[in-house]
């Protein structure tokens, strides 16, 4: 046994390897905000005739560890907008508190909370851009869904750099690679959103989540889905992916112990 009391109870280098002290810096710039810790994966969204639908799974990963399996990543703002968060979960919770305080403040004004999804998106994009300009980014990529000032369906994206863009269908993270092609094939540009029904939109989102669960290692088969129409927001947070088929899995070759 090590007879130096200072060493007692401390991880031994020959067992655990030397600790990486760059994580315990006492001087120099703050670095823990420079990379995400607990993260959520894709957010998928689509516009349809009379509204917008948004979906995420309920997983918060810690690196490759599926750390929290019941995290709601769709947040409702007021009665007219939903934000879907990808990226760092603590930054999501910070932004959620920020939005809640705005909602409360707005509700004290004469006309109540008049901020629509478009206003909310502009605000969030500016928060992201300000923080990236301070080199203290909020590590998120969000989709904002709801209605604009003219009452038309609104779906737009904002990320940690303050980059913004809008399209009839959007997805963040892995979904940008896997879900967007599916949505673009189902609902091509020539087909106006007025021809897409709510049922088609919701079923397309479920298909996307299923493909993401098959191929995105940081995803889950439990998901949340929000459908925003002029009638209100229909948010379901404890959904389960159905009719999965893993038949393709046995045909996958080239990994593991198999030899031929």
């Amino acid at each position: 046994m090590n007879h130096f009391p200072e060493a007692w109870g401390r991880p031994r280098d020959d067992v655990y390897g030397a600790y990486n002290h760059s994580y315990l810096q006492t001087s120099g710039p703050k670095t823990h905000t420079m990379s995400p810790a607990v993260t959520g994966t894709s957010v998928v969204g689509i516009k349809f005739n009379g509204g917008v639908a948004l979906a995420t799974d309920n997983l918060a990963s810690y690196g490759s560890l599926a750390r929290f399996t019941d995290v709601k990543r769709l947040r409702v703002f007021g009665n007219q907008a939903v934000v879907g968060f990808g990226g760092d979960v603590s930054d999501m919770q910070y932004i959620d508190r920020l939005l809640e305080s705005i909602d409360i403040r707005e509700n004290y004004s004469t006309h109540g909370n008049m901020l629509n999804a478009k206003n909310l998106h502009t605000y969030l994009a500016k928060v992201f851009y300000k923080r990236r300009s301070e080199f203290n980014p909020l590590w998120n990529h969000v989709l904002v869904a709801g209605f604009d000032g003219e009452g038309k369906p609104f779906l737009s994206s904002a990320d940690l750099l303050g980059t913004t863009f809008s399209a009839p269908h959007l997805a963040t993270g892995f979904g940008a690679h896997l879900a967007v092609p599916i949505l673009r094939r189902l609902f091509p540009d020539e087909k106006p959103i007025e021809e897409v029904t709510r049922e088609q939109a919701v079923s397309a989102l479920k298909d996307c989540l299923k493909v993401l669960f098959y191929r995105d290692a940081r995803s889950l088969d439990k998901y949340s889905i929000a459908v925003i129409t002029q009638e209100g927001i229909d948010l379901k947070e404890d959904e389960q992916l159905e009719s999965q088929s893993w038949a393709f899995a046995e045909r996958i070759k080239g990994y593991g112990a198999q030899t031929n």
């Binding site: 090590n2 130096f4 600790y19 990236r132 980014p137 750099l161 303050g162 980059t163």
Partner: protein
């Protein structure tokens, strides 16, 4: 305690973490505040007009973010419709910086009108834009801007910028991802570089063709040709072509389809 632990004669050789405060190697910033959103812009002037055009594709890496993100803006007009604007600005590069820059210049032009009771001249706006860019010399707006309008004589005016504010008035300029494809085409077709008047001299000693302002229809066609060609050879350019034409009658905006592949 520290002196004890550092004692050279101790028999133990096994190390352990947190034994002493270590001067850790400084961890580098892993955050890069810029990205490239691709796309290309192009401006050409004539004797009584200026044209500013850009594609509407937004990319990050090999992904297409959206097929409809315009990058030519009306400056100093109404917030929603852009009505009443007499200056155009195009920004290509990092889109978030481009938007921030657009909004700052728009505010400046509006404040100028409120304070002086007259519209800002294009020359003044051009100088101001340079100042705005240079103010962020050490954390630049990562964009190539082109400003267009009509000068005091009613002639088309075009100013092009680098990200830190160097600027120049020109007849034509291409910027962005496909600028290296479009600019040589413009040199040849707008400024008539390498074009000579046939039979004007002996052998190879021909007289160069003089550049002069082109009619609006010719310029419109040049802009469309430039972009259809750029789309063929550059993956970050495509989807739609946004064209804004500024004349004494105001600003006209049209969209043309481009290939979506």
């Amino acid at each position: 305690m520290t002196s004890l632990m550092d004692h050279p004669s101790r028999g133990e050789t096994i190390g352990y973490s947190f034994s002493q405060p270590t001067a850790a190697p400084v961890k580098e910033h892993s955050f890069y505040p810029y990205t490239d959103n691709g796309g290309s812009t192009l401006g050409i002037t004539g004797s009584d007009f200026a044209i500013l055009a850009g594609d509407t594709r937004s990319t990050s890496g090999y992904n297409i973010n959206s097929r409809m993100v315009p990058k030519v803006f009306k400056i100093g007009g109404d917030d929603e419709t852009g009505e009443g604007a007499h200056i155009l600005l195009s920004v290509v590069g990092f889109a978030a910086d481009g938007n921030a820059l657009k909004e700052r210049l728009d505010t400046v032009v509006k404040m100028y009108k409120y304070q002086h009771g007259k519209s800002m001249s294009v020359g003044a706006c051009a100088q101001r834009l340079s100042t705005i860019l240079y103010q962020k010399r050490f954390f630049p707006y990562y964009v190539h801007a082109i400003l267009a309008g009509l000068d005091e004589e009613g002639k088309g005016a075009l100013y092009s910028y680098d990200p830190v504010g160097s600027y120049e008035r020109e007849q034509c300029r291409a910027a962005g991802a496909a600028s290296s494809l479009i600019m040589p085409f413009l040199d040849n077709q707008v400024n008539f570089k390498n074009q000579y008047i046939p039979g004007s001299g002996e052998g190879h000693a021909l007289e160069p063709k003089k550049a002069e302002p082109l009619p609006q229809e010719t310029v419109k066609q040049l802009v469309r040709d430039a972009f259809t060609s750029a789309v063929e050879r550059h993956i970050e350019v495509g989807d739609h072509l946004q064209v804004m034409i500024i004349t004494k009658d105001g600003v006209e905006e049209v969209y043309h389809p481009l290939k979506k592949d």
